[in-house]
């Protein structure tokens, strides 16, 4: 075998092995687990939508009688509503998780003494400094009694009541 060919072959091998080994050298923060996505409610919604569209179109073309159309459509609409609810449920769960993460990351503290401030408290229990209320999501100042952040729309009502 030609020496030049061996040299080129070796360099192909080295480049390839390096490329294949890249993922093992990266120190990514994410753990080993593969990301998981929720697609099923979305799939369901699309399927129902396309069924609805087909049914409407078939009705328009006179393939379905009026009685059948009414009953089939009512059933499909109920399915569609259900699929939207499912999708909402997934969104709600996602939102709760996000909120939990956010509040953990930015647990508010007293400006003066650094005491951790629980939600709903107006004055620091340790030094008495008035607590400036700020949005836990974007940090924007809030007025007393706000239910949502005026800047980012963050929902301030949590299980504990209105966040400070």
């Amino acid at each position: 075998m030609n020496f030049g060919a061996i040299l080129i072959g070796l360099s192909m091998l080295v480049i390839s092995v390096t490329f294949v080994a890249i993922p093992f050298q990266q120190r990514s923060k994410k753990k080993h687990a593969l990301p998981v996505k929720h697609m099923e409610p979305e799939e369901h919604r699309l399927a129902v939508l396309s069924s609805l569209r087909d049914l409407d179109f078939d009705f328009q073309l006179g393939k379905v009688s009026e009685d059948d159309y009414a009953s089939l459509r009512a059933r499909l609409m109920a399915e569609a509503a259900q699929s939207l609810q499912e999708a909402d449920k997934v969104d709600e769960v996602e939102a709760l998780i996000q909120a939990r993460k956010a509040s953990k990351a930015k647990s508010p503290a007293c400006e003066n003494c650094g005491q951790a401030i629980e939600s709903g408290i107006r004055f620091c229990p340790r030094c008495g400094t008035a607590v400036k209320s700020s949005c836990p999501s974007c940090g924007k100042n809030l007025k007393a009694g706000d239910l949502f952040c005026s800047s980012c729309g963050y929902k301030l009502i949590t299980q504990a009541g209105v966040a400070s």
């Binding site: 072959g9 192909m12 294949v20 080993h32 593969l34 799939e43 399927a47 409407d56 379905v64």
Partner: protein, 692 residues
């Protein structure tokens, strides 16, 4: 040196495809994303590495590096550079490499496009597709290596083929090669293998997703079907084009005046096409109604296994002779792999059987669902009949020692009626609505196409006094065509009245808003036009044969052919040509001069008959020069003439099918969302859904 680089690239590609299989399976199993990502990188490398290999072979073919046995086998000095490139798939060794290369290409496209979206399925998609790629690259490397040299051993009658130098030999470099098989030097044969291979290998994607869905338990949803629908369509249309090009090649080159002979190799391509077509339809049932999930799995496993089986039959020559099977290690290796793939997939399916329960049951027997189920059953029945007829000679030879072949009569009589019903269903299925359909409505939709088709077929039959079966065949074609046209008509009418568009706008919008539905109708139209070609071939074919001296005429139907003389001259690619000069008359009027030829390839000692064809939409006059005798006094020649009615509709139908597939593959769920919204807050009463 170039060939050596190709060989090294091939070896590295093999190592990485094996690594990718193992690493992705391990990463998926243990949930280690680094392993999966590494496997992905390895899979991405296989394609460029194989490309280096393919380019090395192509370069050797063009530059006529006869130190390679493969180049010596399929290339020669007399061949044009273009033909030398096509020699890549003109022989066994090159074509297996080409196969592996295409498959690796499909895998790269999937990995680049779908990596982020289908992360859960990806480990097993990589494992499944790379396992197959590894198998094929392994075949190339260890059994059908195109980088083998010829070695000469003193005293031995033949040169030895080996990659590395055996003891006591010297490298043998011939002066010129054997050249590509003359029968393969035709545009049909140049396009046929690549399109067929793209079709065969393309089914790996839906198959790999199906297997991944089974392993991960995601088979319950239909995400894998949505992801792979377009891949399946692409594979399917390439297989269709491959079938049609193969038919065109047979028609132009093989010289028996037909385009489909139920040959084992043709059947080997037809079978995955049949199950693939069934799969394309049954996935709609899952998408729309959550039904037939198990059935989809069965169909994609069958389709992919039959694709492998098709390659197996073509590449090992096992059907023409059982002995070809054991001649090289290719046959047993292939057979084992197909067996393992099939059994492994069926086991996975059995394991997940309970998760594939249907979400709905049939609401009414008069519904599109019922037609779909029937249609699927028929496709499977036809596949089984073709399979049985194809492997029967093999089984009879194994069991009794004598080979009993079943010819075209078996296939025609068994599959003919099944195809008839299948085509009929194709016509009426679009008239049914999903879920439920009243018989009254159905009757209303059917009677007009039915009446129209009766008038056309009976009128035509009466005018031309044709075979009764042909009238039934023509009725079927007319009926299906009318049904499809009626669908377009109704759609256009609905739009013109509800949206006030003019008919052309309405037609464009109609197709634009419903790509899949109307693309499908175009494909159906193409299929029925091809059926028209088959009817012409079965019932309207005329033939005659005769020997004439120069100046004499042969008569067939209302055509006359006058023989004007012969001439011989050397042609390109190392062939000697004898050409007859003919004048064709229709009803006594001269229409065309024709030159049927006999090309003799000197090196290969092979004659090829090139017919002279006068082609119109209705019929082809197809004339072959069979034999000739030249004396001092006169010239005599023997001709065979066919009148092939309606044959051109096969090719026209093929183009319509391609057009329809392009339309059908266009749509996407996103578009659906933008054109159709569910308005929140509305009650479930009518009409809450509006088109915007």
């Amino acid at each position: 040196m170039i060939a050596d680089i190709g060989l090294i690239a091939l070896t590295i590609a093999f190592l990485f495809s094996v690594y990718a299989t193992v690493a992705s399976a391990y990463g998926g199993w243990r949930n280690r994303s680094k392993w999966v990502e590494s496997a992905r990188n390895a899979s991405l490398l296989v394609f460029p590495l194989l490309t280096v290999s393919v380019l090395a072979i192509v370069y050797s073919l063009i530059t006529l590096d006869f130190s390679l046995a493969y180049v010596y086998d399929v290339s020669s000095q007399a061949m044009s550079p273009f033909l030398r490139v096509t020699a890549l798939w003109g022989g066994q060794d090159g074509s297996v490499l080409f196969w592996a290369w295409l498959m690796a290409g499909f895998v790269v496209i999937v990995l680049l496009r779908k990596w982020e979206r289908d992360r859960e399925l990806m480990p097993y998609v990589i494992a499944t597709s790379m396992l197959t790629t590894a198998f094929f690259v392994g075949l190339v490397l260890f059994i059908t290596n195109p980088f083998q040299h010829l070695w000469y051993q003193y005293g031995a009658p033949d040169a030895i083929k080996a990659v590395f130098q055996p003891a006591n030999t010297t490298l043998y470099i011939p002066q010129d090669g054997g050249g590509l098989n003359p029968l393969l030097r035709h545009f049909g044969m140049i396009g046929h293998p690549p399109t067929t291979y793209i079709g065969f290998t393309g089914f790996i994607i839906p198959f790999a997703y199906a297997i991944a869905a089974l392993i991960t338990g995601k088979s319950r949803g239909d995400e894998w079907i949505r992801t792979t629908r377009r891949w399946t369509l692409v594979a399917w249309i390439f297989l269709s084009i491959g079938l049609i090009l193969g038919g065109r090649w047979a028609y132009d080159v093989l010289g028996w005046g037909g385009f489909w002979g139920w040959d084992p190799i043709e059947n080997a391509m037809l079978m995955p096409w049949l199950t693939g077509t069934a799969f394309l339809h049954s996935v709609m049932m899952t998408e729309k109604r959550g039904m037939m999930k198990k059935w989809n799995m069965v169909l994609i496993i069958l389709t992919y296994s039959l694709s492998l089986f098709g390659t197996f039959i073509t590449r090992t020559g096992v059907i023409s002779s059982v002995h070809a099977f054991s001649k090289s290690a290719l046959g047993p290796a292939f057979f084992t792999f197909i067996g393992l793939t099939f059994i492994g997939s069926i086991y996975l399916l059995y394991w997940r059987w309970d998760t594939l329960e249907t979400e709905h049951s049939l609401e009414s027997f008069v519904s599109r669902e019922t037609v779909f189920v029937l249609q699927n059953m028929l496709f499977l029945a036809i596949t089984f009949a073709v399979f049985w007829g194809t492997v029967f000679p093999l089984i009879s030879e194994l069991v009794t020692g004598t080979k009993i072949t079943v010819g075209p009569p078996y296939f025609k009589s068994v599959t003919g009626p099944l195809f008839f019903v299948e085509l009929l269903l194709m016509g009426i299925a679009p008239l049914f609505a999903w879920r439920k359909q009243t018989v009254k409505n159905l009757g209303k939709a059917i009677w007009q196409p039915f009446a129209g088709s009766l008038v056309v077929s009976i009128g035509w039959g009466y005018l031309h006094r044709m075979h009764p079966m042909s009238i039934i065949g023509l009725w079927l074609v007319a009926f299906v065509v009318f049904c499809i046209l009626a669908e377009f008509w109704k759609g256009v009418k609905a739009r013109t009245s509800s949206k006030g568009e003019n008919p052309i706008q309405a037609l464009i919008h109609l197709i634009g808003r419903n790509h899949r539905r109307y693309g499908g109708y175009f494909i159906h139209l193409g299929v029925i036009l091809i059926a028209l070609g088959f009817i012409g071939d079965s019932y309207f074919k005329q033939e005659t044969q005769g020997t004439v001296t120069a100046g004499e005429r042969l008569v067939i139907g209302n055509y006359q052919m006058r023989f004007d003389g012969l001439r011989g001259y050397p042609g390109s690619d190392g062939r000697e040509i004898v050409e007859a000069n003919l004048t064709l008359f229709k009803d006594g009027k001269e229409v065309r001069s024709l030159q049927p030829r006999r090309d003799y390839f000197v090196v290969q000692e092979q004659p090829v008959t090139v017919p002279g064809v006068y082609s119109t939409a209705g019929k082809d006059v197809y004339i072959m020069l069979l034999d000739w005798e030249v004396s001092d006094i006169d010239q005599q020649a023997t001709f065979k003439i066919y009148i092939n009615s309606l044959i051109n509709w096969v090719w026209i139908g093929g183009f319509v099918m391609i057009f329809g597939t392009i339309i059908a593959a266009w749509s996407s769920p996103k578009q659906l969302e933008t054109t159709y919204v569910l308005k929140p807050g509305m009650s479930t009463s009518l009409p809450a859904v509006q088109e915007v």
